[in-house]
Homo-oligomer: 679 residues x 2
């Protein structure tokens, strides 16, 4: 009987509706009539009304009131809603309330009176889109904003249509800002010709409440302004920025502000002129202030010859705490290195008490399998946001030290590096859409669990009409489990136990722990990070090592510093540990490493099985696309496991436990075929 | 403690003696003095004495008598031996007795009085060596006999040294003949210049009792003889062959005879002139008769447009039974198709009752993973030799119908297509040496079990001096199990349940069930053999199909013809079976196919584990070489499994059972990367 059923279902699947995923999580179709009462008119309210009409799944013939009315309990663009009314301080609040109401309807959740306020004032996507249409760390095709040289700054109806869909998707999850270009910015961004295109984009995004921001190159005054310097204290430079900002606001009255990567990885900055990050940021902040613009200044800095790259940002920025203007927000990556599959939180969180600090998360999977691996990132972000900094006692989580709960920041914000491109499904991998979704949802409410977000996303993305009970049991449940496990599994098969940055150079996709040419700066090579030798492996960041632990507050500092109390998830991040060190499992470190890589491989194979089983419950096109990606992921995991175990075995000189599936590749083969020679 | 031991052993391994495998199974060093009494002198007896002196492991100071004395109980080059005496009819019998005595000593087996007679009179290697030094289906480097054009027919001391080692290895296992060149023969083989080189080879092989044979091209009289025809009934042609044979015997007085592939796969033959195979073979046999030479005439024939290639040889040769001269032996491949991983026995065995018939086995692994896969072939040959033909009632096994037990053949013989090349380890894969060894041992005694042969081979090849008890438990036992399972495992992961010839074209290495271009003769394409369609899969050879079953004797014919009684190992060989046919396991055919491929994959992974564990018990060089080959094999198995399951799933339209590890490759990728376009 089981067999017969399988066969029937297997046959049925291809006849389910095929589709390419372009609709994202916005699939609700109205199932009844609704009367909308709204006393005001505006482009944003028009959208709100359209959405209600198109997507209404509540009682047919119901009436709903959209009510813009001040209420102290409602913060910013938050809203209060019941089954029949949405109240907000702002038009945008109304629109957000509409999306929330429709979401509840689609999720079959009861609606009681409730207020929903955003955790962060600014919820911003950072697009690392280059002006030639390519995207740094983009894995879903070309930029939706910029074209290659042939098309230049042209704006077509098709462009506008995509931007509108993009804005709608963002608004539906509460995102209210977009930095349109790469932090490794081109000076051409600020040319008048280019700014006119930005104006066109901003006009499409505006009704959806998405403010436009730009990444700027610090040396723009000399590069395109004809000045001899970009010294932030030079009056001509200050004047140039003031004029440029005035020009921008004349085109885009609600322009959001600048994002700046300065004195980092070769980018120019104030230090080139003997000035501090604060000097540079304040100069820009002063010029933006009159228009309400802000500066997001990145703390992602590290010297080429630093003894420990993980310590650098803290060392450079802590002395500047309190020296930044109040319309500056220091943008800090979640961890102290660079968007690794797992990092401890960045010690600047909670430590900079007199500065607005915003987390920078990476939605695009630079270090997490690009658009090939199925990795749901919300658990990683949840882990970071819920990390205890202890900077103001227990409860000083990263979330609370950045969202205004603890420090009186003028602005609160959170940024996500986008994974969006021109591909039909926007993100390359259908499941990568969940990371865009999750970022928006967490930015709105940093207490949401990754489980709840996954549940919401799956239902909105895959449920087709009224799903059956079977669908809940055989689709929703297993797919949610895959998502929830996926990041920990990626950590296991890429870099368990605190390993970090052992990626192949340049593309950061496959393994590369062996890669370390003499002529490349050391902190761009994996051996700098893993420090494997015949004794053991791991980076000694204890007080007798690089002392990175001392950038954390007690009791965390002591906990991390002690080999016995340091969480094993961060073991090799903070300690250089003997291969025969006894782990909590009772195994040696070497054996534990082997079992982790193996567990990762086994889990991905389980994901494949689970996925194949859901075939009868979904459309063929997305089923096969994801199946194919999982196959590739499973292949890649083999490369990770074989490559890392065979490489580190050269140091441990210990056998891979014999109950573990053996390598099928030679290390030399992997090195030759899966490492790119130059970064 | 277990861990510590592992570590110590892991470290130790590299310090064990490294070696390249060139010594084969001939590693015995003398451990004591021996006095040899022998009243005669000859090159062969000199070798016998040298071997005894070099390899003596019996009581030190013992005396042994080599006694050439007729004894009716001793047949051909057989021998009688005790601890102190070897008696034989011939010098070669003495040499064989010496090798057997030394083997018993090395295997620590007691020696009682015993007679050992060979199962077959002629125990011949067929070298498919081309005269340019390449080897058809050779995977161990170039020919040891022939060089590329630059060297031509030159004979160096190094050549002679290799030939001597080769002859010694053959003699040690009882092989007494070698066909020096490819059955797809060049006419140049019979030129005087070339025959002089053959003479040089024969002189080196002679003292070891290896007779020299040549493959000849049937059209040689016209190609190099200046005649207008090669018609076997043409007096000029007959004259040409007589003269050529006379010339050969003037150079090589003990020349063995010819091997002929005629009217097969484009080779010329008597049918080109309206004559039969018997006409062609008899002409040559008559010319060879005066010198004691024989003709081995191959039955491997099939027409391009045959309805069933498997029926062809029987159809062509059965009418000729009784028409061949008594110095002709018809050489019949073990199965009716072509050295597949599993075939039913060739129906000519036992059916040709008035003709000498010899089995042709393939030692080189054309269809069994070349020199990459570890596949011990003795179980396959044992299976064939022990197959009941029922042609003369119960007990008419393939072995007994070919070794003279049942039919009064003038000559008995067995041939093995060699896997020998110039590589240091002779056979490419260290374990491929076991197949050379096993062929020799089975040719001498076709009742030996593959288990006993494996035991002998492992001990002689890997035991170093006096092995410890640990070695028996942790090396001999698991390695023997790997060997004994290896062929059934290969069947599982390549072509279980009677699948056959679904190989990639040309190289016959990877899977190619999909390969069937329109412009290629159908019987060279896999779909001709598997006949997959939406109903099912397999070749209908029942009486309502091609009727190949009727070439077998009752009760076998009826057993094979009936879907319910046909052994599942041959199911798809004889039947076109519904995908949902219920197998003995209770599974559907489709599921059973899936589980078989999966079982093959799991087993190869187990082999890898078992092999990795033996590292402490052997030399590093061979350990790592085999480890590396097993890794490649494991990769290949993945291609086989994914490729075959995804391909056949297109017909079955049934899901791969969900407890089976999912494919990691796309079918298109495998087709593109693992199929060669033209045969």
């Amino acid at each position: 009987m089981r067999i017969c059923l399988s066969i029937i279902l297997f046959f049925m699947a291809p006849y389910l509706r095929a589709e390419n995923g372009h609709e994202l999580w916005l699939r609700a179709k109205n199932t009844g009539e609704v009367t909308i009462v709204c006393s005001k008119e505006s482009p944003t309210l028009t959208i709100a009304k359209q959405e209600l009409t198109q997507g209404w799944q509540g009682k047919s013939g119901a009436k709903i009131v959209l009510n813009i009315k001040k209420d102290k309990a409602i913060k910013g663009d938050g809203f209060k809603f019941t089954e029949n009314e949405i109240q907000a301080n702002t038009e945008l609040g109304i629109l957000y309330g509409v999306y929330e109401l429709l979401r509840r309807q689609q999720l079959k959740q009861a609606v009681k009176e409730e207020i929903s306020n955003p955790s962060y004032e600014l919820r911003v996507l950072n697009h690392w889109d280059n002006m030639d249409g390519t995207i740094e760390r983009g894995y879903a095709g070309a930029s939706i904003f910029w074209h290659d040289e042939d098309k230049g700054y042209a704006v077509t109806d098709k462009d506008k249509s995509i931007w509108r869909e993009y804005a709608r998707a963002n608004a539906s999850i509460g995102i209210n800002g977009a930095v349109l270009n790469n932090v490794n910015a081109s000076q051409l961004m600020l040319t008048t010709e280019c700014l006119k295109k930005v104006k066109a984009i901003a006009e499409v995004l505006r009704p959806y409440g998405i403010k436009t921001y730009l990444s700027v190159k610090f040396s723009s005054p000399s590069l395109i302004g004809g000045l001899k310097t970009a010294d932030p204290l030079d009056p001509a430079v200050i004047g140039w920025w003031k004029n440029k900002i005035k020009e921008i606001y004349s085109l885009i009255p609600d322009f959001g502000g600048f994002l700046v990567k300065a004195n980092s990885e070769g980018q120019p900055g104030p230090q080139d002129f003997g000035r501090t990050h604060a000097d540079g940021a304040n100069m820009m902040a002063d010029a933006l202030k009159p228009y309400g613009g802000i500066v997001m200044w990145r703390a992602f800095v590290y010297e080429a010859n630093s003894k420990d790259r993980a310590c650098q940002a803290y060392k450079e920025f802590m002395p500047l705490d309190g020296k930044f203007r109040d319309n500056i927000i220091v943008q800090v990556k979640n961890g102290p290195i660079d968007f690794q599959p797992r990092e401890p939180f960045n010690p600047l969180f909670g430590a900079m008490k007199k500065t607005s600090v915003m987390p920078e998360l990476q939605i695009t999977q630079e270090y997490l399998g690009h658009s090939i691996h199925l990795v749901y990132l919300a658990p990683m972000w949840e882990e970071c946001l819920n990390s205890e900094t202890y900077q103001e006692g227990i409860g000083s989580t990263v979330a609370r030290t950045t969202d205004g709960s603890i420090f009186p920041q003028k602005h609160t914000a959170i940024a996500g590096v986008a994974n969006i491109g021109i591909d039909a499904n926007w993100c390359g991998h259908h499941f990568a859409q969940s990371n865009w979704y999750a970022f928006g949802r967490l930015a709105w409410n940093n207490q949401l669990t990754s489980e709840k977000i996954a549940d919401e996303w799956i239902k909105q993305t895959f449920a087709n009409g009224e799903p059956s009970n079977d669908w809940y049991v055989n689709f929703l449940a297993p797919v949610k489990q895959i998502m929830l496990k996926s990041r920990e599994v990626a950590v296991d098969y890429m870099m368990p136990l605190g390993f970090h940055h052992i990626f192949a150079p340049s593309d950061h996709y496959g393994p590369g722990p062996w890669w370390g040419p003499q002529d490349v700066r050391k902190d761009w090579t994996p051996p700098y990070y893993h420090k494997a030798d015949t004794f053991g492996v791991g980076f000694d960041r204890t007080i007798s090592g690089s002392d990175a632990v001392s950038q954390y507050s007690e009791p965390l500092r002591s906990q991390l510093n002690n080999l016995q109390t340091c969480p094993e998830t961060y073991l090799l991040w903070f300690h250089h540990v003997s291969w025969s060190h006894k782990m909590q499992s009772g195994r040696t470190l070497w054996d534990e490493i082997c079992y982790r890589y193996d567990a990762g491989q086994k889990q991905v194979r389980e994901f494949q099985k689970e996925w194949d089983k859901v075939q009868p419950y979904m459309d063929a096109e997305r089923f096969f696309a994801v199946q194919s990606k999982l196959r590739s992921q499973s292949q890649n995991v083999r490369i990770w496991k074989d490559g890392c175990l065979l490489y580190f075995q050269q140091f441990s000189k210990m056998p891979i436990p014999y109950d573990i599936e053996r390598p099928v590749y030679e290390l030399d083969y992997i090195i030759k075929n899966f490492t790119i020679d130059k970064p």
